[in-house]
Symmetry: C2
Subunit: 182 residues, 2 copies
């Protein structure tokens, strides 16, 4: 069910073809929130359209179809976002690895954690760049239109990666301490 709403949300921000959506999934949302391949996206777009939640707003070259959200679709999306639905099972292989570090020898775990720090820092830096760009762009056109979802998402990533880096550094410290003091 989540894929439906992911698609509705992305299309609500801006109409797009299945191809474009596939790539938007591959960009950022994929890392934290949800991932999907084109083989799942195309059929779902058809189903959404059959259900009256999306519609083809334009047809272009190479048989491309640009989809947009209908009034019913927007309402379904709003409803879903406002329903509090308990936070259910996450799936994140990266985090799973962190949870299982106990199976490694301290020096091996160190190596993994150092990679986590490096990776998190790199991602955080990248997002800082994105944010800077977004802010510049925004200062150009006067009044911002409501909520800037792209900025919220980028900032979320920045907060999470910073936390992840901090945690990994704390964990390294922990290992060092138990190695020397232990």
């Amino acid at each position: 069910m989540s894929l439906r709403f992911a698609l509705l949300g992305l299309l609500d921000a801006r109409p797009a073809t299945g191809y474009e959506l596939t790539h938007r999934f591959a960009e950022g949302i994929d890392r934290y929130a949800w991932s999907a391949k084109h083989s799942q996206i195309y059929p779902e777009l058809r189903r959404l359209t059959d259900d009256g939640l999306t519609e083809v707003v334009a047809e272009g070259a190479r048989g491309s179809r640009t989809y947009g959200v209908t009034a019913a679709g927007r309402e379904a999306l709003r409803e879903w976002l406002l329903s509090k639905g308990g936070p259910r099972g996450a799936r994140n292989e990266f985090v799973l690895r962190l949870f299982l570090l106990g199976a490694l020898e301290p020096d091996e775990a160190r190596a993994v954690l150092e990679r986590v720090v490096a990776h998190s820092d790199r991602q955080a830096d990248e997002l800082a760049g994105v944010l800077e760009y977004l802010q510049k762009e925004r200062s150009g056109d006067g009044a911002p239109a409501g909520i800037d979802a792209e900025e919220l998402a980028a900032q979320y990533g920045a907060y999470i990666y910073r936390a992840s880096s901090d945690w990994a550094q704390w964990a390294l410290d922990q290992i060092d301490r138990s190695a020397s003091g232990g």
Copy 2:
């Protein structure tokens, strides 16, 4: 494939029955890392055993079987943990909602974000309690045995929830500013 390693990791920390594993999944790991139901766990335990990665170390009442990791299993787990395998598609409905907040009116988004702050703070507090308990427990028995995976995991959650709360507060601020300042 991840389920295999999740099970190997949990069993490596401590042998357990399928029933116990089901509940460990339902506890904490489930929220950040991976979730699974018993209907998936039991068959996988059998497959792991067929593949020689786990073994039945005890049989108890009610036909219960306690599984442990074999040498081959430990090796497979280590290998997986040390392989850097690119961080692939996460799935987290909670985060997905945050990414799609742009579809809501500012006041609606406010309400959602306030719930995020409340929820994250509550979780962070709960984890702080867990950590305090773990630290007390550890100060009891002298030398800690290598890496305390439970503590790492709890601390990870604490860092992430704090970041999530901070982010949501920043986002609320952002909405307020764009509402007044325009």
